[in-house]
Symmetry: C2
Subunit: 363 residues, 2 copies
């Protein structure tokens, strides 16, 4: 590694083809959803994706305090028991990494090289953030509410605690949670123990883990991950568009059995039930899922939306004939947004919701 | 992808440099230990490594039966409740993938390209296997006991259920468990729900997950993963040496804070407590850990062995001076086995226990 990465202030050059050791090492630092786990309504712990920018901090629950400061009437320092004493709410949320699919873009930005696996669904329990903000008392003229984690490191030469913000109106929404439990158990270290933010409908970067500080601001939050990271940019120098909600997407659980190394699938001839999940952002329901067999699109059956922010199951019974086949799936949401056939390229490889393709051999 | 991988019967050619998409996709299918999690005596769920050859099966606990057959007096079909009714035992076990470190060998065999992360420590609860074998009644002249999982796929053109075996004497050892719980909870799907074998002191491939069949044999088990996979081989055509116990090894938790992409570390000058874990195979204790600062080896403090099959913590207080430094650690076990400075190369990249090196910048 030439140069000092702490002063790597420029964007890394785009690449094609094989993956650098730095990209592989990032893949190991984070959990991924093996696609057969699309079978679960709620993703079991350890199969839900994680994306941690820096090291996973080890925090002590007894001494933990959530600090709330800035433009508030009453600064707070809340212990976990105090947060647990506030009204509790459980929300089932499909969360996806904004960088999911980055490894499939060409050329590719060297970063976490997700293929399809940066997603999962969990039941988060906590108190709506608004209870804490109301207790602190927002001053007039508040613009942003910033959320800062205990995880610290460098990105593009900038040392910072991981931090993101929401506009005040968004932060007061009933489904934005200060979550202390996932799937009915205390948060695992890698999911933000003891406390995290959960912002349903947004890509995962908004849901700050190891949340230790809330700063109420009368100006836009200028932290690295808000002002520089997490934008859709079409070229160097493009000020870009901030990334917010997840995009419409679907995945199929590859049918049959795999080859160990290539993961190529072998499927028995006859009726094969294809199944998977589909979701969109901002609580918009999925209206339609189509499946393509060798490029021929057919209608799949989709479960109705049961939880506003959770994925919907879909299925299609395929009459599989011997030979080589390519499967694909495509979701369309209730607002008519649909998945593109090829990635919508942007400089940092964000928000790739192109249709997934799976090669199978039927015998 | 050229050719039909189901008939890929030859070993793949060795490679150097960047990693193929197939290698990256395997990395995503398995969990890895982020090295800061070396701080935990028992690895939290989701941070313990996994290595699944094929898809993670979804098994139903109510209808699950463990079949015991072959050279036994009384074939059995045991429900999970029957297994839970047998004498229970909990064993703390450090388990490492035999392929851990494969991605650091040169040239490299294209397979799961572990760097350092294929390890973890868990508390497994189950019944010693011998209770079930004794209930079934081993015939005379038994050679091997084979263990078959519910996971099925291809490797090098051979379709098979994942399976491994132990010599009968080994299988009757008190610490070989039929485990139904990990860290006090039912097994997670990716760790073998509802039942797995745990063979302490061996590399992980022996601890068959989703265990559904035990076959007692009067001949050596000839399954793919026993007879072809998991051997140390020095060249093509080498019959090789079967892989059994883990090798002596140590890891250090990288100090300081990271750069997002390169994971290069920044450390504050002054006293820095370096810490990590060390373990060996077959229950042999770690006698010594050394730390190298820029190639100068010093003695670290090592905790005594508390659990025969679990890693031991070590620490070293480093007086860090500003500049660039390379850290390394090396364990030696009570039988005098120690880690090599460079990998002991073999065709499939197995058992790499070379010393880990970490680059840091002190400011």
């Amino acid at each position: 590694m030439a140069g000092n990465p702490f002063f790597e202030r420029e964007a890394r050059p785009h690449v094609e083809g094989d993956f650098a050791r730095d990209e592989l090492a990032l893949a190991y630092r984070n959990s991924a959803l093996p696609l057969e786990a699309l079978a679960y309504d709620v993703t079991p712990l350890g199969l839900h994706y994680t994306l941690s920018h820096f090291d996973v901090p080890r925090l002590d629950e007894a001494s933990f305090r959530l600090a709330v400061g800035g433009r508030v009437a009453r600064p707070l320092a809340l212990a976990l028991d105090e947060l647990r004493g506030l009204p509790a709410r459980t929300v089932r949320v499909t969360m996806e990494c904004a960088g999911n699919g980055r490894g499939l873009m060409r050329p590719r930005y060297p970063s976490m090289p997700w293929l399809h696996e940066g997603v999962g669904t969990a039941e988060w329990t906590g108190t709506p953030l608004r209870h804490v903000l109301e207790r602190a008392g927002l001053a007039s003229g508040v613009a942003d509410v910033a959320f800062l984690g205990a995880d610290r490191g460098f990105d593009r030469g900038v040392e910072h605690d991981y931090g993101r913000s929401l506009a005040a109106a968004e932060a007061l929404g009933e489904d934005v949670l200060l979550a202390y439990a996932m799937n009915g158990a205390p948060l695992a270290p890698q999911h933000g123990f003891p406390l995290r933010l959960v912002v349903p409908g947004w890509f995962g970067m908004a849901s700050v883990k190891w949340l230790t500080r809330i700063e109420v601001l009368d100006r836009p939050f200028d932290g690295f991950q808000q002002a520089i990271g997490y934008h859709y940019r079409k070229h160097a120098g493009d000020p870009g568009v901030p990334i917010t909600h997840a995009k419409v997407k679907s995945l199929v659980a590859p049918p049959g059995i795999p080859d160990w190394y290539t993961r190529r699938r072998l499927v028995e001839r006859g009726t094969v039930r294809l199944h998977g999940r589909a979701w969109s952002g901002a609580g918009v329901a999925i209206a339609r899922v189509e499946v393509a067999i060798d490029g021929d699109w057919r209608e799949a059956a989709v479960d109705p939306q049961r939880d506003r922010f959770a994925w919907q199951a879909w299925r299609y019974d395929w009459d599989a004939a011997p030979g080589e086949h390519e499967l694909a799936c495509r979701a369309t949401d209730a607002q008519g947004a649909t998945q593109p056939l090829a990635p919508d390229w942007n400089t940092n490889g964000m928000g790739n919701n192109a249709v997934q393709r799976v090669q199978v051999t039927v015998r």
